[in-house]
Amino acid sequence: MSATTYDAGLPQRRARGHEYNPASLVFLAALWLSLALGIVFLLTLIVTTAIDGAGRFDSELLTNYDSTLFPETAGLRAAFFGSLWLMLGTALMAVPMGIAAAVYLEEFADSTRWYNRLIEVNLQNLAAVPSVIYGMLAVAVAGLLGSATTNIVIVGSLALALLILPVIIISTREAVRAVPRDIREGSLALGATPLQTTWKQVLPSAIPGISTGTILALSRAIGEAAPLLLLGVGTILFTPNGFLSGFQAMPVQIYGWTSESQDEYKVAAAAGIILLMAMVLLLNGVAIFIRNRFQRRW
């Protein structure tokens, strides 16, 4: 019995020996290393920053405002609430428009028309435009609307909304495209109009995919500092309380503190990073949870 197993195993072992010659092993090790590098880097980043900032990661961080006199107790209350308002404004602007555009392109657009092809090419280009450019666009739009002050929540939200709009459109299109034709045809066969079919059948089926893409886009927006710098966002000593309020944002606050020379600010920046990373990871976690839990495989 054991002899036959041995005999049967022999040719297979030879084949495996060919698979595991020195060159192949070195190659496989190199691939492992490539994958490990990114993951080790991410862990190192999280651990070292957490150690740097642990001393300042307390309630003062959220109750105090930024301070030029007392770096050891400087807080990011204004930046935290500023970022929350910013996210609300960004979501209100980008999500409905992104979904509407994606639904049009996927369900109604005739892709042989020149203007629809223009939109396609344009979306690809927009997704590659550097984020800092969107700050310049928001300044120009604010100027056009007659607002000389650009460091208010609504202008910041506009910059971030324009930035993530292509991302939301692209991910929503994928979610809508994944809904099988049968569902649409069944709905149409029962007498529903194309708009009713989209609204009552296609969109509800695509909600998990759309939410995953939207949350990931918002998690990108919450960490963006570059476009906000163009708006002249800086230190404020009050809590932002509306869309027309002045604001500070978490990533801009962290940038400001990191650029300071005193070590106390570096510690405060690290503490701010812990909070920002927690928010980003939470959003990513929610997105992955929705994808795994609710996404239907057709």
Partner: protein, 285 residues
């Protein structure tokens, strides 16, 4: 209703038109005072100190250096990770590892900038490798930039490699090639269109990334080939200058938009190149 939907889709075109107008108007004012040729070929960038000069090449060199270092990290490691995920990993391993790797792309760039300044330069470059580097230097910024774009390159290349039909692999294995040979000589060449598009997209991310270079690559324009020195980049200049006082219409304000326009033009060219690459080498199975 359909009209509203179409209007939303048209907004994306409006955004592009808006960007071009927003950049062109102040930039044209700028080029009234500074000839275009002096801007593009000048080797000295002194926008706010007398005597002023507006040669953008030092900033372009900074962007080029950080991007080059970034790609030297991101291309080999990104492709390595993609080959492992596509050709070696089991489905369940891939399902767990890919989102983890993509988290790297979700880390805010200002966090990467902090990490480059506080860990990569003092601990890794000076401590482990004993390099003589400045407090801010293009090398640390480029390395972190590279790690940031690994997921972009890995994820898109993995998609391209996974799309290669199994029949090609089976043919190769049946001829006696092992997995390494199959990966390198059959799968990668078959997926080259997607892989090159992934690399070009990574390139345009690296050129446009702002916060890492604003924090870690330095604030001094420096036309050099030594990445151990601090080099200001185009995006770094914009971020660092935008923080200060720039009254609308002033030269320093217009300078921001002139550099922004150049940056936009460069990323647009890279993107057109990427779309062409995909069309040219696309293999249809």
């Amino acid at each position: 209703m359909l009209g509203i939907l179409r209007l939303s889709a048209m907004t994306s075109v409006l955004i592009t038109v808006g960007i071009i107008i927003a950049l062109l108007r102040p930039a044209i004012d700028f080029f009234r005072e500074v000839p275009l040729l002096d801007f593009l070929t000048g080797t000295s960038w002194r926008p706010n100190l007398e005597p002023m000069s507006f040669g953008v090449l030092p900033l372009v060199a900074g962007t080029g250096m950080t991007t080059l270092v970034g790609l030297m990290i991101a291309v080999p490691f990104g492709l390595g990770a993609a080959m492992y995920l596509s050709e070696y990993a089991s489905t369940s391993t891939r399902r767990r590892l890919k989102p983890t790797l993509e988290l790297l792309a979700g880390v805010p760039s200002v966090v990467y900038g902090f990490f480059a300044l506080q860990f990569i330069t003092p601990t890794v470059l000076t401590g482990w490798f004993g390099l003589q580097v400045g407090f801010t230097n293009a090398l640390a910024a480029g390395i972190v930039l590279g790690v940031m774009i690994i997921p972009t390159i890995a994820s898109l290349s993995e998609d391209a490699m996974s799309a290669v039909p199994h029949a090609l692999r089976q043919g190769s294995l049946a001829m006696g090639a092992n997995r390494m040979q199959t990966t390198l000589r059959v799968v990668v060449p078959a997926a080259i269109s997607g892989i090159s598009a992934a690399i070009v997209l990574g390139l345009s991310r690296a050129v446009g990334e702002t916060m890492i270079v604003a924090l870690a690559s330095g604030g001094r324009p420096n036309l050099t080939v030594d990445p151990r020195e601090g080099m200001q980049t185009m995006t770094g200049f914009i971020a660092q200058t935008a923080g200060g006082e720039n009254p609308v219409g002033s030269v320093s304000y217009n300078t921001l938009f002139a550099v922004g326009l150049l940056l936009f033009a460069i990323t647009l060219l890279i993107n057109i190149l990427s779309i062409r690459l995909v069309r040219r080498f696309r293999e249809v199975y």
